[in-house]
């Protein structure tokens, strides 16, 4: 059985096929596009009963067993729940896209990326292996990058995409490290096996691994302080925003936490991280949302708030918390996606989605207005919607804790939840009222220029109706859909009985009170917006991010200036000093006592002393010489002394070669150096001491390298073999020549290749006709540069700066 893999493959392959089909040609493709996700949804729906009865579908495919890498898929309650959301909403999005991008030549490309994203997301929630999860996780990162930057000509889109990718990649890499640590500790990367490992929660490495995993989950799910990328990602086309930020990508982090919940939720580290980070994010998102007049930005902050809520709920092990978690995921998907989609329709129809320019759309876009109102009702938590059920459960959880001795946490949680709910309600009321019902916009009004067809709005309407009335029938699907998911998060079967109506409990009254306060916030929206306008912009996580990236660029710039901007001498010094350091280390920091000094000859003869002195004088003359000619001659003298050494120590071939080479080198140097500009005279600059230091160090290096040879002769040299066999086997009595052309002729072959290459290089560089033409052109260019006071480069620099 490989149904899971087949489903993923179907979605993956749908992308390229659609790309080839050029779907922008007709709206009929909307139906075709919805088909693959709909099929997968249907298949999953058929599995619901089986999964609810406790049987899970597991598939494992070997990938790289050596690295513990495999593709493991598992369809349990949680996977099925998320999977249904992904493909279900995906069906609506796929349908909607065709209308949203009508006539766009790149629609096929959008579908290509969208399907791959969908498949990755589905794979992510189905995976039962940490590394598999990571693979799909990165798949969603890349595809969302492409989706966000769909309008790649606009800087805002590209910039938002970049920020999203960098932040999520940073988290993902931390997460990968955490996964590797956890996997090495557990001896497997399989999630089910890790969760079943008894000692895993208490292992020494677990806190480190968990923190790294949290980094991944928090960045992906836009938790504080990483929430700033999400609003920037709103520059994506609306179908992508709706999909990525309502039901799918941002839930990936939440999903990971829910997956790990059974094994690690006992740890205090787990509780406090999730509770504090989630709670803070929840309040921050909710309070910020009302500030924005861009519909999508407002919704983005509302999404951040809900994501914080979900994270906070996962901190708890209580039944209510987990029920609230699952129901909130469902409710959020069903109201946030329609809101986003409606914003897209408004944008499409009016040419803007800025609330300041919109008013009274209810008349022009009645279907959209209906959609938005229903979604608003759910989002604000007005009974009998799904949103109301979620809010009830959330408050119930904290009230329960408050009653059962956990006063502090319960009270705090209750306050946080209530505060966020108030502001979320206020924000969504603002959105609905200002766009659809008020009479007059704040700003210049936008005009309807393109009325949407019914089918454009249909997917949003469908979803919103499900969200609005779904809670009424909760009893009919809670056992097959919600209970298995809750059980999977809890790690054990839990009996679930959800009721929409709990009676007139304190929680209900609190809920009603929140609604009233939400209306108050809505009415006072002008005041809040003015207040927010006073908050300095530098005081945000985005500023911290920018400062970090800025610091990296600065550092890079500094480092590069040092590396690349420097002249050659420092670079050369570093290379030479590296060699010196090696010898220095070996001579002074290793145990040299095992070595003994060997020497084959006793004392140098007088001739040798004389040659030695001559060589040193000549070398120093080369350095100190004032004229080019004397320097070249001095170098030649050094060469001659080397030749003399060769003669004395029995190397006539070497001596002959060295002499001839010396002659040719002098020829070359004279030919060249009398036509190039003379060096600037030596000035005693501030680098002089350093130069001397390097020179002395190199002197030590040379001395030590020769002496090392005489410290220890470990084995017999192989050279007697050559002397013995030269005549008989090599047919020659000049052993050096026999070595060159026979024993080690292969070396010589390489050597003459070097010469051949040198000849070719010299030939290529020295074609005089071409070179002089070039020189004349360069002189002309130089004169032009000199006459032009402002070079062109500074202009381009300014342009870039303005950008």
């Amino acid at each position: 059985m490989s149904a899971l893999a087949l489903c993923l493959l179907l979605l993956f392959l749908a992308g390229p096929i659609f790309w080839l089909l050029k779907p922008q040609r007709s709206h009929a493709f909307a139906w075709l596009a919805a088909l693959p996700p709909a099929a997968v949804t249907l298949w999953q729906a058929l599995q619901m009963n089986a999964v609810a009865s406790g049987s899970t579908l597991v598939e494992r495919y070997a990938w790289a067993p050596t690295l513990g890498l495999e593709v493991a898929l598992k369809l349990d309650g949680l996977a099925l729940f998320f999977g249904l959301l992904i493909t279900g909403i995906g069906t609506c999005i796929a349908f909607y896209t065709n209308y949203y991008l009508e006539g766009d030549r790149r629609q096929g490309y959008f579908y290509l990326v969208l399907y791959i994203f969908m498949a990755s997301m589905l794979g992510l929630v189905w995976s039962d292996d940490l590394l598999t999860l990571f693979v799909f996780w990165e798949g969603t990162s890349i595809t969302s990058y492409l989706l966000i930057a769909y309008k790649s000509e606009y800087k805002g889109a590209v910039e938002g995409a970049r920020r999203a990718l960098i932040v999520t990649t940073a988290g993902a890499l931390a997460m990968l490290a955490g996964m590797v640590l956890l996997g090495l500790e557990a001896g497997t990367f399989n999630i089910s096996e890790i969760l079943a490992e008894p000692g895993i929660a208490t292992a020494a490495i677990t806190p480190v691994a968990l923190v790294l995993l949290f980094l991944g989950a928090f960045t992906k799910s836009a938790q504080f302080p990483f929430q700033f990328w999400l609003p920037g990602a709103m520059s994506a086309p609306t179908p992508a925003s709706a999909y990525l930020h309502s039901a799918t990508m941002v839930k990936a982090g939440i999903f990971l936490l829910a997956r790990l919940h059974p094994a690690f939720s006992d740890l205090p580290l787990w509780f406090w991280s999730l509770f504090l980070v989630g709670g803070f994010t929840m309040v921050l998102g909710a309070v910020s949302a009302i500030r924005y007049t861009d519909m999508k930005a407002l919704l983005a902050y509302a999404t951040i708030s809900v994501l914080g809520m979900l994270t906070m709920l996962l901190a708890f092990q209580e039944e209510y918390a987990l029920e609230a978690f699952v129901v909130t995921v469902l409710a959020h998907a069903l109201y946030k996606a329609p809101l986003f989609l409606s914003a897209g329709i408004v944008d499409h129809a009016m040419g803007t989605r800025d609330l300041r320019r919109l008013a009274g759309l209810a008349r022009a876009l009645p279907v959209v207005a209906l959609t938005v109102v229903l979604a608003t009702v759910s989002m604000a938590g007005i009974p009998p919607t799904m949103g109301f059920l979620a809010k009830e459960l959330l408050l119930e959880n904290f009230y329960d804790l408050f009653e059962h001795s956990e006063t502090l946490i319960g009270g705090l949680g209750f306050a946080i939840a209530a505060l966020s709910a108030v502001f979320l309600g206020g924000a969504v009321f603002t959105l609905t009222w200002e766009a659809f019902f008020r009479r007059k916009p704040d700003d210049e009004a936008a005009h309807l220029h393109h009325a949407p067809s019914f089918w454009f709005a249909a997917p949003a309407l469908l979803l919103t109706i499900l969200g609005a009335v779904g809670a009424l029938f909760v009893g009919s699907y809670e056992q097959v859909l919600l209970a298995p998911a809750i059980a999977a998060v809890a790690g054990e079967p839990i009996e679930v009985h959800l009721k929409l109506w709990h009676g007139l409990t304190p929680v209900f009254f609190a809920s009603m009170g929140i609604l009233v306060l939400a209306v108050v916030v809505f009415l006072a929206r002008g005041l809040f917006r003015r207040l927010y306008a006073r908050v300095p912009t530098g005081f945000s996580a985005l500023a911290v991010y920018d400062a970090t990236v800025d610091a990296i660029y600065r550092l890079a710039y500094r480092v590069t200036t040092v590396i690349q901007g420097s002249p050659m001498a420092p670079q050369l010094s570093v290379t030479l000093l590296a060699g010196v350091a090696v010898v220095f280390y070996a001579v002074f920091f290793t145990d040299g006592s095992t070595s003994r000094l060997l020497d084959s000859l006793e004392f140098p003869t007088l001739t040798e002393w004389a040659i030695f002195a001559l060589a040193i004088i000549a070398a120093i003359t080369t350095v100190r010489a004032r004229s080019r000619l004397s320097a070249i001659i001095a170098l030649g003298v050094v060469g001659v002394t080397v030749t003399l050494f060769f003669i004395i120590f029995g190397a006539p071939d070497l001596a002959l070669t060295q002499l001839l080479i010396e002659v040719l080198t002098v020829f070359l140097l004279v030919l060249v150096f009398f036509h190039v500009k003379p060096d600037t005279p030596i000035a005693h600059d501030r680098r002089e001491p350093f130069r001397l230091l390097v020179a002395v160090a190199m002197g030590f290096f040379g001395f030590a390298v020769v002496m090392v040879n005489h410290l220890s002769q470990v084995g017999e040299s192989i050279s007697p073999y050559f002397i013995e066999n030269s005549l008989e086997l090599g047919k020659g009595s000049n052993v050096v020549n026999v070595i060159l052309v026979d024993f080690r002729g292969y070396d010589t072959m390489g050597e003459i290749t070097v010469l051949a290459l040198a000849a070719l290089g010299g030939y290529a560089l020295l074609r005089s006709t071409q070179m002089h033409a070039l020189r004349q052109r360069i002189n002309a260019a130089r004169q032009m540069l000199a006459s032009e006071p402002e070079p062109a480069k500074s202009e381009s620099g300014r342009e870039a700066g303005h950008d």
Partner: protein, 162 residues
């Protein structure tokens, strides 16, 4: 002792060569490299057994025994040095030509340096970098380099795009 003398000589040659190549100036660069080449060759020579005056030329028509082999100078380092000498001659000749061409093209006598201002920091996606101030180009930098490239790489100026 002779070995120590040789080692001292090698050290002096290395020191002089290193000092010279660190000085600015292309002629000094080549001469310094020449000194270092000599130093390396001598250092290699010192790795073998130093034998005064017995070149490794085995007399004709004579069977050489192991005992006799010790009387000859070590032939292997000689072959290696010969290879090294010839290779470094090829490299030196090439460097000389490079410097010649460089001088002919740019008329500069300094050892080559990178153009500082080509390190571009203006990143249009990053507003912060526009605040970055470029350091003043030091005198070591070869300011002309980049403009010259443009002249040469421009096919209109080249006159032959085919």
């Amino acid at each position: 002792m002779t070995a120590i003398m040789l080692a001292v000589l090698v050290g002096v040659l290395f020191a002089c060569g290193a000092y010279m190549i660190l000085l600015r100036g292309q002629i000094k660069l080549v001469l310094g490299l020449g000194l270092i080449t000599h130093a390396v060759n001598l250092a290699l020579f010192g790795t073998g057994k130093l034998t005064r005056g017995a070149p490794p030329i085995v007399p004709h028509e004579q069977q050489v025994t192991a005992a006799m082999a010790g009387q000859f100078a070590d032939p292997l380092p000689q072959a290696l040095i010969l290879t090294a000498i010839v290779i470094s001659f090829g490299v030196t000749a090439f460097i000389v030509v490079l410097i010649y061409r460089r001088d002919a093209l740019t008329g500069s006598d300094l050892a080559p340096g990178e153009l500082a201002t080509v390190i571009n920091t203006s990143d249009p996606f990053a507003p912060f970098s526009s605040r970055m101030v470029m350091p003043e180009a030091a005198d070591d930098y070869d300011i002309l380099q980049f403009e010259l490239d443009e002249v040469y790489d421009n096919p209109q100026a080249e006159g032959a795009d085919e």
